[in-house]
Structure formats: C-alpha cells, structure tokens
C-alpha cells in the first residue's frame, strides 16, 4: 500500500496520478542533456484547491514537489532532482478573464501560449500577448516563472515576468495567496502600487511556491506585418546597428542571429527586424525609417538588407516559428541544448566569439543569437547547440560546451538564463554574499520543509 499515492488519488482522482514506469521515465528527463532523475509520482491537478491539498500532503510526508508547465525548459528545471511529486499543471488551462480596456488576461497556470493566442484571435482580435519562441504548448506560467521573453519584449516592456499583472500562488506551506491588485480589489490590472511580492515567485524556477493563476498584459494586435534582415560580416558592428534600429522606435521585435549554415551565409551577422502596423502606409513608413537608420552601413556596400524569398519571409513572420523547433534536427537527432545568457548589448560581439570558440573546441555545431529586451536594456543571448540524441559522445561534448558556456557567460558579464542546477551553482558562487543570504532567508521562511523543487536555487 502506498499511502501517498492513495491520498493523491483522493485529491485529484485515480486517473490523474501515476507511479508507472512509463510516466516515471518520461517525466525524469527533458529535451536537453541533463541526466535523468525519476519522480515517485506524477500528478495532474485540475484546481488551485487540489494543488493546495497536494502541497499540504507533501509537507506532511516531506516529499518534494516539482511544478511543471510545458516541460520545454531544456535545462532540467522540471526534472525532479530529488524525486517526489511532479505536478503537471496542464489540466489547469482555463482562460478566466480578458479585460479589453485594461489590456490584461487572467489564465490558469497550465494555459498554453498557443491556446491563449487562439482565444484572443477569436474573441478579442484587437489584442495579443507576447509569445516566446518556444513551441505553442509552452505555458504562460512556466515562462514567466523563468523570466522568459518573447516577440513583444523589445517593444512592449521587457521580460514576460515584467508583463505580469498579478499572481495566485500556493505557498510551500499550503496557503493560497493572491499578489498584485487582485489581492485587494477584484481586478487583476497591476502589481503597483502594492509591495511587489510577485517577485518572490518570478525567476525562482518553482522553488518558492506553485503558481496557479497569472494575470498577463495584453497589447494591440496590428493587421500588417513585415520583416527585414540586415546583414553584415562585421561582428563588432552589431551593437551599433541594434542601437540604431532600436532608436527608430519602429520595430516590434529585434533579433540577432549567427549560424554556420547555409555555407554561403556563414560569418554573416543577421539582424532580423519585425515590424507591425495597423495600416499599410504606416507599415511602409516604419520600414522606410528603419532602412534609413542604417543608410551609412549599406552605402559602404559592406552591409545591406537581404532580399528574402517568399518562403523564408513567411517563416520569419510566424509567431512562434516552427523553424526554431526544427533546429533540434539539424544533427538528424532530435536534440538541442541551450544557454541563454542575459547580458548587456555591448557584449554581443564577445559572446559570439566565445560561442564559436567553445563549439570548435568541443567539435559541435551551433546557432548563436540574441533577442533584444526592452529598448536595448539587455539582450537575451542564446548559445544553441544541436545534438544527435542517438550519439552519446556528441551529447557528452554538448554537455561540456554547456558548462563552458555558462562560465564564459558570467566571465563576459552576463548571467545564464534558466540555468541547470550546476549553472545555478556558478551564478550563486558569483553572487554578493548578502544577496545569497537573503535568498536563503526567503526560501527558509517560505519553505521550512524544503519541499519545493529541491536541487534548484539551492542556497
């Protein structure tokens, strides 16, 4: 008799608890190169109350709880490093409210990016939310919990965690709390002017509680959309080019990319600039202003705007882009690992050089790039390394590159994003001691039994 399993089944129903080898296998690993670690139970709650009861049970039994959204983080953050209960939140996927005038939506934590997008297109076609580059099954809550970013991060206010207007959270000790305006009045319009307690759960990778509802900002959806690619072989020119494009104020999304394939584009820095507008003439004007901002460069004939075949343009206009998932099959092997590093824009050239050196040293291939966050306030620089899942040696080399990249990102003055447990230790090792102690106090206070996603942000 497994008393915990019985209790879990009483809480969520027999169909939604599994200790089977098959579920333990699947939930023991993600798509990256981290070592697997099996859960004891996989549980699919349907309500905040069920989550609360599960957390209370976990406290009583001193069993770890690992919340999971889309499970697409690649760095093992939802792999139960110390066993216990994986809470797959995707049954909690109702869209609870859309406030058109105040531009926010309230969703349950398992709501996927794609489903919110589809819902808005159908019921509120004037509005959209910022979509990450992850596949559309990635969840809203999972993404904000790791400080994700997306296609409106440049133009509309930064990381997705900065677009949160309110949270409902089950604390590690079982209390259900609301944070932001919804804690005081009925609407979920803002985190201000209250003390910003939401920060206790954003960027903590599920180590301080289980997010059960999210209020998220919405933005105008424009009817017209186009994309430009500016190319240069001068790696050191990237910060200035980005600065100029950002300062036009005309771009919705700005990305930087560098890839060895196809061969004829190897060595080219590509600045991908997405532009949207309500009217065609507005779109044309925006495109003209962006082109004009880079006139100095293309007049030298060392750089220029790339003529794009229609199928390429169509792919770049997709949000999210399927092509980014296809990157996993570059090595005909269904895998890629990823170090995102949040860093100042001026570090992009050095990060590129570092990425190429690391991949050459480890005998692997790469795609490097960055998304501009805010009006150039930072860049989310990605070092993406595809691998063949059937090639154990390549996996080992990618793991080694991942470790080197984490170290290099910190050396360059950046911070690895959604870092795996070992990467988190590196970050903590570089952290101001007083900040480290504060993190420790916060975790001890919130989670006295240490049940929440242990092994992550371990202080």
């Amino acid at each position: 008799m497994d008393r915990i399993k019985d209790r879990l089944e009483e809480i969520v129903g027999k169909d939604y608890v599994s200790c089977s080898a098959e579920e333990r296998f699947i939930y023991s690993r993600d798509q990256g190169v981290q070592e697997p670690s099996e859960p004891d139970y996989v549980v699919l709650p349907a309500t905040s109350e069920e989550v609360r009861e599960i957390v209370l049970l976990a406290n009583e039994a001193k069993v770890p709880v690992v919340p999971m959204g889309g499970g697409l983080v690649l760095s093992g953050l939802t792999v139960p490093l110390k066993g216990g209960i994986v809470l797959d939140m995707k049954r909690m996927n109702r869209i609870l409210e859309v406030n058109e005038n105040s531009h926010y939506a309230v969703v349950e934590a398992g709501t996927s990016q794609g489903m919110l997008d589809a819902y808005l297109r159908k019921h509120h076609p004037r509005l959209k939310h910022s979509l990450p580059d992850a596949p559309p099954v990635a969840t809203i809550a999972g993404n904000i919990a790791i400080h994700g970013s997306g296609h409106l991060s440049q133009s509309e206010g930064g990381f997705h965690s900065e677009m949160v207007t309110g949270l409902e959270v089950v604390l590690p000790t079982g209390e259900l709390v609301k944070l932001g305006s919804c804690s005081t009045v009925s609407a979920w319009f803002s985190r201000a002017p209250l003390p910003d307690l939401a920060g206790l759960f954003l960027g903590w990778n599920g180590t301080t509680g289980v997010i059960t509802k999210v209020g998220i900002k919405l933005f105008p959806r424009q009817a017209h959309h186009d994309v430009l690619i500016f190319m240069t072989e001068d790696v050191d020119a990237a910060p200035d080019i980005l600065f100029r494009v950002i300062h036009t104020g005309m771009a919705e999304d700005i990305n930087y990319a560098l890839s060895p394939k196809p061969d004829y584009l190897s060595g080219f820095q590509m600045i991908v600039i997405n532009v949207t507008a309500h009217r065609e003439d507005e779109l044309a004007l925006k495109l003209r202003i962006i082109r004009e901002s880079l006139r100095d460069y293309f007049e030298t004939k060392e750089a220029g705007f790339m003529p794009m075949p229609p199928n390429m343009k169509a792919g770049l206009l997709e949000v999210p882009q399927k092509a980014l998932s296809r990157f996993a099959d570059v090595r005909k092997g269904g895998g890629f690992e990823y170090v995102g590093a949040i860093m100042p824009l001026e570090k992009i050239p050095d990060a590129c050089r570092a990425g190429m050196e690391i991949t050459e040293r480890n005998g692997i291939t790469y795609s490097l790039g960055a998304r501009i966050i805010g009006r150039g306030h930072s860049a989310m620089f990605f070092f993406a390394y595809p691998f063949n899942r059937a090639d154990k040696d390549e996996i080992r080399r990618v793991r080694s590159a991942l470790e080197e990249t984490n170290e290099e990102a910190i050396r360059l003055g950046g911070i690895p994003w959604k870092a795996e447990a070992a990467g988190q230790k590196l970050i903590l090792g570089s952290m101001e001691p007083a900040t480290y102690e504060l993190m420790k106090k916060v975790r001890t206070l919130l989670d006295p039994n240490g049940i929440m996603n242990p092994g992550n942000w371990e202080v």
Binding site: E22, K122, V137, S325, G333
Partner: protein, 389 residues
C-alpha cells in the same frame, strides 16, 4: 521494429506541436486530451518506443494502453514541426503495435476485437451472409457489371446509425439513377482498423478476400460508405492486387448534385460539419461534403474552431471504435467535439463516417445535449431536405 522506423525514433524532439491543431485552438490529440500525461502524446509515445527498443523499459499493461490509445487521427502528422519524421509518426506507432501483436502483448479489448474479426470476417461476430441485410428492403440489385459497387463495410452493415447512412445514400443514388449494385453476403471487413491496430496479417487476408471478390465480379469503381474503407482501398489494396477507382459516398453525392441529378431542398436548420480523419487529414478531401451542404436552401455551415485539417477526431479510429481503449469521461474527444459543435449554435452536426456517427451520437447523449444537437449523416440531411426524412 523495421529499421526505417527505428532510425527516426530519436529524432523526435518532444516539442509538443503534435498536441495542438495548427491554429492552437485546444488539445487535438485524442489520447493526450483524455489522459493528459506527456506519455500519451505522440512525442511521449515516440520516446517510450525508443526506450523500449533500447531496453530501457519493458512493455507493461500501461505501455500497451499508451500505444493502443493512439486513434491514428493524423493530427500529429499535420502539426509536427519536424519535416523529416512527421509523415512517419503514425506508421511508427502502428509498427510498434505490430511488434506487440507479434509478441502476444496486447490489451484484452484488442484481443477480443481481433478474435471477432478472425472468426466472422467482421467485428460484430455476424455471419457473412448477413452483410447485405442493411439493404434488404431497398430493392438494390446485386452487383453485376454496374458502374459502381457500393461497399458498406462492417460498421454501416451492422451498426444502426451506419446502416441508416448506407440506406440513405443508396436511396439517393437510386433516385439519381446511378448504376450501382451491392454484394449480397460476400463482403468482409475492409481491414483498415485491424491494420492500424497492428494486426497486419489478418488485415491483408481480409483485403485479399475483398479483392478476390471484386476482381471476380469485374468491379472497376467502388463507392464506400466509410472513410476507413475509402482510405485502405486506395492506399493498401493496390499492393495486394486490388486496383480500383475508389470514391467516398460524399464525393459521389457532390458529383450528382453538380450534375443536377440530385437537387437538395431546404433543410431549415443551421448545420456544422465534422471532418472524418480518414477522409480529411489522410486523404485531403474536405470539400465534397461542404459542397453538398452548400446546396441546401436556407442553410449555412457554421464551422467549428477546429475544422478541416485541424478537425478534432471523434476518437473512433485506430481500432478504438471496437476496443474502447480510451474509455469514458468528459475529456473524451467525442464529447469535446460535441461541446465544440454546440458552441457554433448549429442544431445539426453532420457526419460522413459511420464510426464518427456512433461516437458523436453517443457523446451527445453523454453531454445531455439531445434537445440542442442532433447528429445526422450527409445523406440523411440531403434526403430530409428533399422531404424524405
């Protein structure tokens, strides 16, 4: 497992595009929708099959449930991001089932299904001579050199809603003066769902029997009631010596309407249309039924959020119609589909597959929606519009 499939197992990234339709409206994989564990999505299934072939896990009752819960609807094929593997996803699942069948590791429901068909030639355990009884009082000629053979298949021969479909279609064909006949007691199951369930040898045997009968009688053109028959006769029969022109009855109805041989009247109610997977996603036939419905006077088709290539399967494919591996509950795709149909405000949910008919008709009852939604087949709707309800 065939090396063709074994060599692509590791290429699934498990990125999850396969869970959704291409417009992301809601989960669109019936097995995942029902169970919600990652293991029941196509990506999870790919990883588990790989783990099995690598010796990391051993087949268990749960493993079988996961494998046999795939209804072969093809949503994953439509939505998968990986161009090099997407077309083979369902083939991999079927190949893995074949291996389980060969090893004798199959769920009891699947075993009973196989037994019934192997004994009787159909899943209903009915004697072969009863296969044409659905048309007994319709005065339809036995096939004898007619232009078309009307092949009902197992479900339209023995399941009430399916029989109503076959009868309505046959009456319309007669009314339009179409040259067609049926087989009296010589049909056996088309084999499609057996093949999808991993029982290839029995599927081939039944197909060969049908082919032998068709060839002996000089059949050139076949009209099927079931999209499952339509699919396997086009895709699998040629390799077994059966090359025929195969049409689904909705295509023939559309042709007759276009030729003016059939003139639909007014139906007097808004309708919504459910695309069967083996007609739509598998064979890209989305327009014939809509063409016919478009001719109904005073009626419009209200599309569901998930239509055409994004249609949510009724859950009746891949053998599940007979094995019921998916079980019951609110998250069954058939019930979700009925709720989606109700959202359109239409009073009639039109189908063109006898399996969809039964699955959705039962789901309307399970949802308690009998007073708001009626499931009817395309031919019944056309008959009703002409005053022959």
């Amino acid at each position: 497992m065939d090396s063709e499939y074994r060599d692509i197992l590791h290429r699934c990234f498990r990125c999850g595009w396969c869970k959704l339709p291409t417009n992301y409206a809601d989960f669109n994989c019936p097995a995942y929708l029902k169970h919600r564990f990652e293991s029941f999505a196509s990506g999870g299934r790919m990883w588990l099959i790989r783990a099995w072939t690598e010796g990391e896990i051993t087949p268990s009752e749960r493993f079988n449930q996961i494998l046999f819960s795939c209804v072969t609807c093809g949503n994953c094929v439509e939505a998968c991001a990986m161009d090099k593997i997407r077309d083979k996803l369902v083939d991999v699942f079927v190949a893995a089932r074949r291996d389980l069948v060969e090893e004798g590791r199959i769920p009891p429901g699947v075993r009973d299904y196989f037994k019934a068909v192997s004994v009787s030639g159909n899943p209903y355990k009915r004697p072969a001579e009863e296969t044409g009884l659905w048309a007994a009082d319709l005065d339809i000629e036995e096939y004898n050199g007619h232009e078309y053979l009307l092949y009902a298949g197992s479900v339209a021969s023995f399941d009430d809603p399916g029989m109503r479909m076959a009868r309505s279609a046959a009456k319309l064909f007669k009314q339009a003066g179409l040259s067609f006949g049926t087989l009296k007691g010589e049909e056996v199951d088309d084999g499609n769902d057996l093949r999808a369930s991993g029982e290839q040898a029995l599927a081939d045997f039944l197909a060969s029997r049908n082919i032998e009968t068709f060839n002996r009688k000089g059949v050139g053109k076949i009209i099927t009631i079931s999209p499952h028959s339509f699919h396997t006769m086009r895709k699998d029969y040629p390799a077994l010596g059966g090359t025929f022109e195969v049409y689904h009855y909705s295509q023939v109805l559309a042709l007759l309407v276009m030729q003016g041989a059939l003139v639909p009247g007014g139906f007097g109610a808004e309708v919504t249309y459910h695309d069967p997977c083996y007609l739509g996603r598998w064979n890209k036939e989305y327009f014939s039924s809509r063409r016919v419905l478009g001719e109904l006077k005073g009626t419009s088709v209200r599309e569901m959020d998930r239509s055409m290539q994004n249609a949510l399967c009724c859950g009746g494919g891949g053998g599940n119609f007979f094995t019921d591996i998916l079980g019951t509950g609110r998250d069954l795709s058939s019930r979700a589909r009925v709720r989606e149909a109700l959202d359109t405000g239409a009073g009639t949910l039109v189908v063109s597959c006898p399996q969809c008919y039964r699955m959705l008709d039962d789901a309307v009852k399970a949802e308690g929606a009998q007073d708001r939604l009626r499931v009817r087949d395309l031919a019944e709707v056309v008959s009703a519009s002409a005053g022959d309800a």
